[in-house]
Symmetry: C2
Subunit: 164 residues, 2 copies
């Protein structure tokens, strides 16, 4: 299995990151970004507002990306939140899993004590299974909390893991 590196994203990575994010945001089936989000707004959300953004790279190709940020300000800021997107051409190679493991380690290094996913779409069963395999627990099922573009209001899961 050829290996990829995971490293902090740079400004120069943005065009390649956007190529990966745009189809996922336009589809609107897994993240609650407005489906018509423009590139500047997406860049702000993925690269500027988070504490840090990383990419998985192999031979100059960006395979996937994640951000990490405090899930809440102030007294909630020791719990982090992450989002992960993998290129459609790099599925099935363990990239999402590697990104999530990397983010947990980085979260610890940044001083976070837990990680929370606020809105895992229940129909995104691959993601739910993967996060469970990586130690995340479903703490809540939010009824109809995600307005899926083709399936209507579907449940979303709150998933949580203490970082130790």
């Amino acid at each position: 299995m050829s290996r990829f590196d995971i490293r902090p994203a740079t400004e120069a990575d943005w065009p390649a990151i956007w190529l990966i994010l745009e189809p996922v945001f336009r589809a609107g089936e897994s993240y609650p970004y407005p489906r018509d989000i423009d590139e500047a707004e997406a860049r702000r959300a993925w690269m500027e507002l988070p504490r840090m953004t990383c990419v998985a790279e192999e031979a100059g190709q960006i395979l996937g990306t994640y951000y990490i940020k405090p899930n809440q300000p102030g007294q909630g800021s020791h719990v982090c939140n992450c989002g992960y997107v993998v290129s459609s051409t790099a599925r099935g190679r363990g990239v999402a899993s590697a990104l999530c493991e990397h983010s947990q380690q980085l979260g610890l290094e940044l001083g976070f004590r837990a990680m929370q996913f606020n809105l895992v779409v229940s129909t995104n069963t691959g993601a739910v299974r993967l996060w469970q395999k990586l130690g995340f627990k479903v703490l809540a099922r939010l009824p109809g909390a995600f307005a899926h573009p083709s399936e209507g209001d579907v449940d979303a899961l709150l998933m949580f893991k203490a970082l130790a």
Copy 2:
């Protein structure tokens, strides 16, 4: 029981609103705003970013305030989030309850289909009981998700209610 009105906040209400918010934010026991938040940042969070901000008023005195906003962007934006603060001099008069009822009605009028509180501090038992009385269910207990200034990391509750 003398009655108060609940109405949209105006720019002119801000000084009175800040008088109510500041001690609560400084104490840091119920909301995850940074305890050292400055007035401009607080105003942005309470008055500018939300969809709407309301106040409870009686004879020119502001007794309490709440904001309402989408809890998530895009496909999560049909679920709203609110925050409520009542003046220490107006406790025990049903102001919080009236603000919450008002916010549910306003939420419906604004097209929201549910209301979610992301981080109800478990030690804030009065609030937990009140929200339950008003029909909110505890969907998750987030372990240690609130760094309480005197009690350390305490659990926070995710509370949710469908608006119908």
